[in-house]
């Protein structure tokens, strides 16, 4: 790691994991990497997430400007979530995570 201040570099890991960690955030971001998705689309692909949890996570991601919410139709109300311009910067990180995970399955899945 060729970072000037190593201690600070390592602390930042915790901050990034606040954004991408937890049970759902990483997955939500991963799904939005491909293309925008509606609330219920997300709810379907994220098997077993509840409405309230999904709402909470999306609000958080909006607050930190990773995701934006756009009402695309008033009636029936249709809402679309997409990565912000800034949020797009997470794509490579997500990709790295997915690649590592697929390559190291036998261990990743150990817990099961």
């Amino acid at each position: 790691m060729e970072v000037k201040n190593k201690q600070q570099g390592i602390k930042v890991v915790g901050d990034v994991l606040d954004i991408v960690g937890g049970k759902w955030r990483g997955q939500i971001l991963a799904h939005l990497c491909d293309n925008p998705k509606r609330f219920n689309e997300l709810k379907t692909v994220l098997n077993r997430i509840t409405s309230s949890t999904l709402t909470k996570e999306l609000r958080y991601l909006e607050d930190i400007k990773m995701v934006e919410r756009k009402v695309i139709q008033e009636t029936p109300m249709v809402v679309e979530y997409r990565l912000t311009k800034h949020g797009m910067s997470i794509k490579d990180l997500i990709k790295t995570i997915v690649e590592w995970g697929l390559k190291h399955r036998e261990i990743v899945f150990k817990k099961n």
Copy 2:
């Protein structure tokens, strides 16, 4: 993301985050990227972690074969933790996380 099965690729995000996520695991792995460290060294650099939490996290990382524990001296007992050969594979991922975090501080730190 040029992964064959996208759904599966995304699910793996959750599994990887089990390994690297939480309040401490990412930081522990990051510290071990540089070189092996003793229990109390880790305890010192990980400001405010308790013994019991550190032990728990290290045992988990051992269980999944990311980290190995080596008694290097019986008395006074000295124990060293290091990444396994397999664990080394996480270095690039940690590096990517750190880099993203440093670059996007203004947002990462928003919560404070």
